[in-house]
Amino acid sequence: MRDLASRLRAIVREGKRHRESFSPDDPEKDSRCLLSSAEDIGGALPLDAEAVARALGGEVRQERSGAFIQVDRTWDATDFHGSRRVSSFAIARDAPVGLFDPRLAEVADWPRRPVFFDIETTGLSGGAGTVAFLVGCGWFEDDGFRVRQFLLTGPASEPAMLDALGELFDEASLLVTYNGRTFDVPTMETRWAFHRRPSPADELPHFDMLPAARRLWGRRAPRGAGASSGLRDGGGSGGDEAGCSLTALERSVLRFHRVGDVPGFEIPVRYFQFLRTGHAEAVRGVLEHNQYDLVSLAAVTAHALQMAADGPETCREAIEQGGLGRLYERAGDLARAERAFVLAAESDDVEVAAHALARLGVLWRRAGRHGEAAGAWQRVLRLAERRLWLRPLARRAAEALAIHHEHRAGDPDTARGYAEALRRDASGRAAEDARHRLARLDRKIKSAGDTKGGPSAAQLFES
């Protein structure tokens, strides 16, 4: 009889063969050979934590609940990160965080010690088996930006690491993350719960920069982002366009380009390899990746807050002016929002300008400035001519103008032109609405006995 192990082996291999034949593009396959296979096989060497710590420039922290590796690195205040001097990243005490997250407006103490936080995990699926094997924290000290990383050398490391992280959190006044609300913080909460510890993140104010970045820069990175690709270290935000990934922002906003960065999908595999071989080299790049994420997060956050404080006039990029407009509008600062949109509307970037005008159309109408609103919508229509990707905006403009001319300007003929264009362009519910409007307008026109020819707005959608 075959022994248990060989029977088990046959089953494991069978399943694996099948999986591989159905996912030929499995990235794992390529990344398996990060180290030469000879080094990888050989297996269960006891991992020498001291040697690893030395190689990574850190130290072993021996606590009562276990040991883990701590690596500290400081960016001097006078250093540059991309085009920015590190000293410029420090967040001003009066920075308008409340603009981005109203909950933080209530927190008086937040500037005391903001801590930037980012983790690397053994997978993205979540659940009890997904471990944050590397947690990184960054904060400003007098002499610069300090990054402190905790690296697990095995499952026995985790309780001690969690305790140490808890202490760090206890001292923090604000947690700043990139997508931390959906990924980093819930992942850590699971780890604390796993080890039956209360979560020190529960009471800590949290500023997630990702939604703020989306609001400011939309789905598109500002000019200069170049051919940005690759999601932020696989932060699991899924569906987020490359334009708002942290690496895209650091290229466009900070002009910082990473060299030899570890791609996100490789990170778990590298750590597993580290566990198997004990080689610090397998994770050196992961630590660096995490450090850059933290420094860039600090820089981008400082930039965003500074920009919001300074106002649209000092912005270099129209896309940022538009983003600021949305930010102010959402925070209820309509005067500044209007200024921002007016500036953005002058942009050469047609899309930025059209979106800004559309916001202005809404803002002005709400303010009762109907004439100006109609003007903005007309500019939207002009910009949208022959630009298919702006059609949704054009439809909104036509609808707004049809309403305006019917109800405000008392010009049913003009209104009819817009409504007719809408009917032809729209489908489903919108087309149905347009038909109703047309019928009503026709009745009005008939009862007015006025049969002036309408404008050629119908042509607006022809291209």
Binding site: L4, G127, A128, P155
Partner: protein, 876 residues
Amino acid sequence: MAAMSSLPALTGDKDQSLAALLARLEAQHDAAAREGDEDPHVTAVRKLPAVAAEFAPFPASLDPRLVQAFGARGIAQPYTHQAEAIDHALGGRDVVIVTPTASGKTLCYNVPVLQEILRDPSSRALYLFPTKALAQDQLAELHQMASLVGAEGGGDIGVFTYDGDTPQDARRAIRTRAHVVLSNPDMVHSGILPHHPRWAKLFENLKFVVIDELHAYRGVFGSHLANIIRRLHRICRHYGSSPTFICSSATIANPRDLAERLIGREFALVDRNGAPRGEKYFLFVNPPVVVPQLGIRRSYLAETRRVAIEFLKRGLQLIVFAQSRLSTEILTTYLKDAFHGPPGAADVIRGYRGGYLPLRRREIERGLRSGEVRCVVSTSALELGIDIGALDVAVMAGYPGTIAATWQRAGRAGRRSGRSAAVFVASSAPIDQFVVRHPEYFFDASPEHALVNPDNLHILLDHVKCAAFELPFTDEEGFGTINVQEVLAVLAEDGFVQPVDGQWQWTHESYPADAVSLRSVTSDNFVVVDTTDGERVIGETDFTSGPSTLHEKAIYIVEGRLFQVDRFDFEGRKAYVSSVECDYYTDAITYTKVTILETFEEGPEGPRGPGSQGSGSQGSANQGAGSGIGRDVGALAAGLEEDARAEGRAPGADERALGTQRRTPNADAHVPPVPSAQRPVPALKAHGEVHVVSRVVGFKKIKFYTNENVGSGELDLPEQQMHTTSYWLTIPREILAGLPYGTADKRDGVIGLAHAMRNVAPLLLMCDAHDLGLSVDGVSLEGGSRMGGVARGEAPELSAEPVVFLYDNYPGGIGFSEPLYGMHEALIDRTRELIDGCPCQSGCPSCVGPEGATGPLAKSVASHLLELLAAPEVPA
């Protein structure tokens, strides 16, 4: 077609009209018996007398608020079995309760759970039901109890279902607020255990785990559940809790063994039912033979319709169980057609099956309880504990497959007082014909054993991965009965885990629970894509049966609609079909080759003793159990012999398992007794590990209704291979040589024998016919056999010593082979009874296969062979 008639109102003395009808049928049965009718229409009428209730007081320690709440529901005292179960549970003893339908099992677990929550509001309980619908059903009752208790000052007791339908935004609240979580094994497997930190509050305070419908967890599903429970134990240990298990089961032969094997702990058994029962009649009906030469009987569906109409016309409320979704729809149509009335009146007759929307199902259930619905035609969907009230009559169209399921379906009729009836209408399937002609087999036998094999390596391996993901194994930890350290070492070779710090860390990016389907051994399957009008998926088929049902030109049937397979993409696991109109279906011809890899045991020298080599897979059975179980739970897969041994009886005492007495069939007359000198003593029975290679080589087209073979085709499909376990019977050279028949007839006899054995084996094993594969001397009868034997000319010559393999039709095996080996004698006896007791002249689909397919002498040769094989063994 029956005359159109309208239904009488549901008034008058139902008891009396039922009694009148039963009396008539009983008289018919008695008359047939007097006249010596060999093939009576009504083959059995049994009267089960009424039983009075037995009460016992609630335990003195019970919270007065709980006593009050039950008082408010009219329950002053529990039945004896309820009181006993509550006592065990509150005493912290794991308990399994065997309860017939409608005996108040929910009280057995709700009382201890609510009592504990009242005592300590932080307490939590987890209820597991095999389906979502059952959890929903229980939710209502538990809600009511919880609010009654709450009204008595018990505070707010949170009761929630947590399953695939639970909205995402409600989940967080449930995780922290629910005192009682009602879920199912699939959800626990993929949604709760892998996320246990989020459920920390539940696991830290888990006092009770309730597993309802325990008997549903057998075979593959049960083997998965046992591993899920192993994982649950680990998580509970991690959070410092040790819940008490309360299980309830329908009547099966081994409820305690099953519970102990699934949960891995020692159980107390409560099986003395204290609930009252009214008088109940049980009738067996065999549709009359209409074509005697071919043994063809009147359609059992038509017969069921006639029976049902008899009861309906007398104003009785009934449930009709059909064997498939299709026959459910057909019967529903028949019965609706038979009655007319004002518009909507036909709604008093309803169908019920999986696939109906929940709202419709709830409406039908309500209608049954209120009496508005007079008749429901259902698949097994209503067999489990959905509350539909107590009906007057249960009619079963076809044998439900097991004694246990038959009693459970019969239990759907019957009140605590007053008369009720259950009727079994036999189809022409061999099992049906065996049961209907041997009523004593059913009435006097204990029900079946539910078997599981938690150490099936395929299943085990998947769950070890899940467990390693959930909580790193330590290098000293066990997992069930197998040496998990060895399993982990193999997983480490492929990078799934890595030994670090004395633990096995999960080092894989995957979420292993996603790759496991609890209802089968592998989650691999084929999907069926209908391309008639666009492309849409209309069905799926498990990996094993894909090639034989979805090959090109196969006819694929969904709810009576026919589709033809246009293209079968084996690699892509898809079959593209389009709608067709035709009057035939297809049956694949599969060649199967079975190679013995290792023989675990062989006889006739009798079962192994405790010290013998034993079976490989159970070899390490006892190490690591360590939970102080006195009985040999670890070796239960070994089945019935272990059972017998544990209870101090002689090995080989299969009678208990099968319940029938070993009788010498009265067919001795036409087979001369075998001279003792001729009696051989070589190996007859064996079980072990085998390699099965099967390939679909062709198919036949078979006409509906007439079953004529109207064409065939050849196919070239890839081989499928698996390692599994098998029981096999070797027909000794001496016996075969000594038979006074020609080679071709002997071959027909062996094939006929195999055909009959294959149909009897599931009866003994309490498994689905699908669970077993058959191969004779290395060449398959599959495909042909389901519809009755292999066509002449397809079967090759037999060797001098042919072997009949009955193998577990799942990779790795799920524990049928060893018990089957233990039941070898019973298998031979029952097969002999089936063949000798069959009234056909020379073979029919109900025994050795239809004449014409098996050869004229197949029946005689098979009978003769069995005579020799069943001869008492030489004393050891």
